[in-house]
Symmetry: D2
């Protein structure tokens, strides 16, 4: 027995994959960094747990899950004769580990209320630069892969494309924790079918049905889970709560919040102004700040704020109607009118209780095709290789309109 | 504790569903009957275990799995207010339990070599009549449901339709035992979404994605598993072996076989001649007769028979080419010519080693639509309800041609 | 199709059991009550997610899981001839649903720092009385079963005994979410083996190995998961943080906290003083209050509070030593001395950084035996029925000592 | 994409582990050899499928499962600094792949009726020598490891010891296919805990509960599955059938059987006479020979043979009584007397219908201890390291007596 062996901390239990091995001490130290530990307090699926009570897994778990899949992918590609150096493997691992580190609390929902005009990918990149300083340049190659600057283009595709490691993990993991078994995909098989041709990530021909299955599963997860109408109304109300709080805060009214949340309520942060100092405050922000604030706002004297806050905490949400077509203005006006009278609301407050929105999903994006390689080595877009499924139809974005308003309308 | 209670034999372990409860002693006695016990010796997936080594489950297990799902279905429908009497429940259970009892060894492959012009469903019905005599008329209602004579039409749809209990079990079970996780379907969710409207079995609207997923999973199982090219060539060779044995037997040559197999090799049995006595012999036939005979034929003096037999037993099969289009005659002739010379074969024997075939699968059959019911109670064909997936495309049968010939052709 | 049928809200997805059906509208309304919804914000396993990142499931999910198992149990017992009325079934469901409703945030860890001298079971009972008022006496029978007053004694055993529904769910669920597959138990089989003899809950003889397996699995979960040394030190530090905050608060210093937490920091609540009003405040308390407060305390000017708070949030915990025997005083003194000097601490502050504790687990409690019934109906304590496993040895409580102190001691 | 890469045949689907990779072409060719392919026709669990209908997996699947676990084990040990060369890895893989190749049909049951005084391990070794000739000496190191001659003793322990790869696979696999979830073990965790100290295979201390769990799971599988009373009586009757057939054959009576089975019925083969030629005949023998013969014997004119044969095929077995203590002679005589009269049997034939037997299982064998290594590197027998479980008690062999006789005794 070699003495300096397995640090027990280097293996993590994962109900999805069994064990996840942390390959080396640099990656271990990145995971230990408070910037990464914060992800333990950011749920992967926002308020979906109001519908699927098992969906409490975190971005932390998703990120280390991606790390695991990336290691498997590198092993598969090497067996197929693709040359990947240890340095490159490490960079791929770091890039996928950090690809989502910029997510704020409740993820997507808050991208447009806490900050404005800056995506979580851009914030992830800011984190990477910051960590690259901490770790003395050891993240440079990971950053080049993440930003698509590295000459091996397929490595970027592993991080970000229609069939990237991110999707392979989150679909499998979200399906597992929600218990929506039909969203389950075989990440192992998809990885086993990966190859690289002309510096492009491709899928071998016998994996064609698995790719189709993956696209259908992803679509099912979108409509059945991610865009489930109860999650949707919950996240919409959440955005409204924060908008209201921000409105009050910026008028100078007292709005109880953690220091970090308070900062974002009182400031207007966009891409320009999001500098190192903002990043530091942002790093203190997680789901706990938001929920705690909303809990305290249940007793706020502003009726709009308190009413919306109670909706979230007690799970007594607005009613939501889904429409396949544009909702008629007349109908909206009718509802607005009723609500206004029944609840005695001003015009400006009305928008917090009656509002519309749009959701959209595109099952397949032809702009960034998934490529299938035949035994002879020729490449084909899956949308053409699969003549039966009509992926052409699947590439048309599907859009739905929704309308929210109080239940118990007389 | 009531003394005369749970007979321990009335629960079966099932790795797929956990426990299967046998609901009463009539059904227990049917299962105990040698006609049903025979299914323990008929594999569900024929020679697929040559590709998927875990696929050794039997028709017995599939049938009791269906029994379990049928009980769950009845429970769900009753909760939704559908009135199903105990007598009807029992008949449904018996009908699904026996729906496949007429399968011969290696199922589909032998439907056209052992017997001719009679389907396994027709043989199942013969078994039911026979068992109805044994059990003194207690199977009459089950038979009526099975044959579609019972006035509640939806009950027949539970036994036989595009979304019947049979498919819900075999897809899940075959996916489980092959390890092709992507074929897994959520039978529980599909059952939970079932309802009955205007005496038709329908799926509630929120189950629409699950139905799509089910259709895609089934299609994947067809192309990836059931019609896997190695299974295909194995089953084709199996048919050839039996044809050759039959040819020799009918010429009066000695062909070692069990009594039952011998009977079918020497007789021409079709729908007309398949009477009670034939049924009795048929009941003695299972996978063991076939494999044992083939093992003995490995040393038969007829070179064609011995050569083909070795292919099956030692898993040294013919080469198979799959083509999307009609294979050119010229190409086939070329191959035939080569094989004939290299192996020194007569024209008539050549057909055993070089042959073509066709496989086909239709993911969705518009003739017997799966109907979706909206909240308001209106019915729609899934092919219309699902505007995105283009089920229209999926209803076009897909056909492939294949060509088999010896490996190691010079 | 009956129109007033399945309210879609009455089925919950559960990755562990598939679907959980909420049997009726009374139970549905109890679940919707804010008292019960609070459990969505109380994690089942406290800080175990610092070791097992998947362990983020909540007390809400555990409680509805119990509801599911209780329904299955009633179904099994009825098949065996045990007479259980619908009213009783409902009461059993409510009793198990609410058995843990009195848990505070981070459960056990905080039972002795937030409140004193009152157990979570006692608080659960207070909730039940309160809800009984809300629901106009419909919980009375559930309360009688919960408190053991109902004349059918075995019903209380289903709620609370060595093999109660609570354990059947939490062991399975915790094993599932941690990914410690070895803790998995077959709740279905154990339930299938249940029976009632002389008003006692018993296990049929053929379930003897399953009971043994259950006891071993539970023991494994204790030592490997619940008492994992990293969880242990995390929860110990958590208690210390709250003690320090309470100390400061009661000295009159400013300690940021939610209104509810603030109340408990500033008051001394014990069994006597825990009245309706306290219950109301308690109902506003969950994991979010605690973690948010600790996050804010990371910058508190009290060095002890801030230092301990950072330990939790950044997962940089104290070192922990486990000992099988009593730890020698001399050794503790040595450590204390070192820490005091190195960190320049006062005697009273030292206790926050160097402390000992004891953990204990008893795999089997002979005082409340699990009884096995033979085919002839005679009862035996499992400890005697299982002659091989030596359950006698398993009934000896195992106790370990631990010592915590700062890492990086010179 | 490197052209000469992944031969698609080199990955096998396994529902238990996902994918199994065949590491190189030598091992691929061994698997393709008819000697190994035969294992596809030998069921792993004999007649257990009469009780557990899912248990139809084969020795082929078990052997390739072992191959998979061995590769994982080598990977783990290398990470811990144990030096294993590629040549050694390959030998380990071959040794575990072939460790059971000598099993005859229905495994253990027939070890003493088809052949005598030679174990399946000895036959496995004969196969290895034979294959070593075929593969020109490439199996020599595997043979040395298998026979314990190689100087690295721990490698033999991986092939054969109380915690060998064989057990890690068969317990997990048998639990999976029977659906007895409680027998499930975490082979991955046990492998992750393996190490080598002083040339001994050891388990790291934190794996102690997993080892205990493994021992309990194994014991449960023995009593609940492998020695289930219905399997037991089925296998006992199977042995009786073959004894009777042998008796008749050796008297010169006609007994229909395949050529290979016929050979063994008419000859007396023991260790001495089991030479190359016998091995060749043995290689043609599998489950299909046995079941086909028994099916034909159902109509044999010898009443004893036909009656016993029907028992197996129609699953109408003898009654079996299990006793913890020696069964009293008087009681046996009483039964014998009744049966003799009721069925009008001669004294010598009586033994085929009334017989006793003994089964025994030892949960832990102290002679070949499982060793636990502490962090400091000291070794301890698990029986001592685990003070709570009383493994001492588990090392006492448990023995049960059984008595079989016809049902429906008047």
């Amino acid at each position: 027995m070699n003495k300096n062996t397995t640090n027990k901390l280097k293996i993590l239990n994962d109900p999805v994959y069994g064990f996840i091995r942390i390959p080396n001490s640099l990656i271990f130290d990145i995971i230990e960094h408070p910037y990464f530990q914060r992800l333990r307090r950011v749920s992967q699926m926002g308020l979906s747990n109001l519908v699927y009570p098992g969906a409490n897994h975190t971005r932390f778990h998703h990120a280390v899950g991606c790390l695991d899949l990336m290691q498997k992918t590198v092993r598969v590609l090497r067996v197929k004769g693709i040359d990947i150096s240890e340095v490159e493997e490490n960079a791929l691992c770091i890039a996928i580990l950090l690809h989502d580190v910029g997510h704020g609390p409740f993820s997507h929902a808050l991208e447009h209320s806490i900050v404005e005009g800056i995506t979580h990918e851009e914030i992830s990149l800011k984190y990477m630069y910051q960590l690259n300083e901490v770790f003395k340049g050891k993240l440079s190659l990971a950053i080049d892969i993440f930003t698509g600057k590295y000459h091996k283009k397929y490595m970027h595709q592993l991080i970000s494309s229609q069939l990237d490691i991110d999707r392979l993990d989150y679909l499998k993991r979200d399906s597992f924790y929600t218990g929506v078994a039909e969203g389950n995909i075989s990440s192992d098989r998809l990885i086993a079918m990966m190859n690289v041709v002309d510096d492009e990530l491709v899928i071998e021909k016998k994996g064609i049905y698995s790719v189709e299955k993956f696209l259908i599963a992803r679509r099912l997860m979108y409509w059945q889970v991610y865009l489930h109408k109860t999650s949707l109304v919950a996240e919409s109300v959440l955005v409204k709560v924060l908008q209201r709080a921000k409105e009050l805060a910026q008028k100078g009214e007292a709005v109880l919040a953690s220091e970090a949340l308070n900062y974002f309520l009182r400031s207007k942060i966009d891409k320009e102004s999001f500098d190192k100092n903002v990043l530091k405050v942002f790093s203190q922000l997680d789901d706990f700040d938001i929920i705690s604030a909303i809990k305290s706002w249940m007793n706020h004297e502003d009726v709009v704020l308190s009413y919306l806050s109670k909706m979230i905490i007690n799970r007594e949400l607005l009613k939501i109607e889904m429409h396949d077509k544009q909702i008629k203005n007349q109908y909206i006006l009718l509802i607005q009118d009723k609500v206004k009278k029944q609840f005695n609301l001003s015009d400006s407050d009305l928008d917090y209780f009656v509002f519309t929105g749009e959701i959209s999903n595109q099952a397949y994006n032809k702009e960034q095709p998934i490529k299938i390689v035949s035994k002879k080595g020729t490449l084909k877009d899956i949308a053409k290789a699969s003549d039966q499924l009509n992926l052409q139809a699947l590439s048309k974005p599907v859009t739905k309109q929704f309308l929210c308003y109080p239940k118990k309308l007389i």
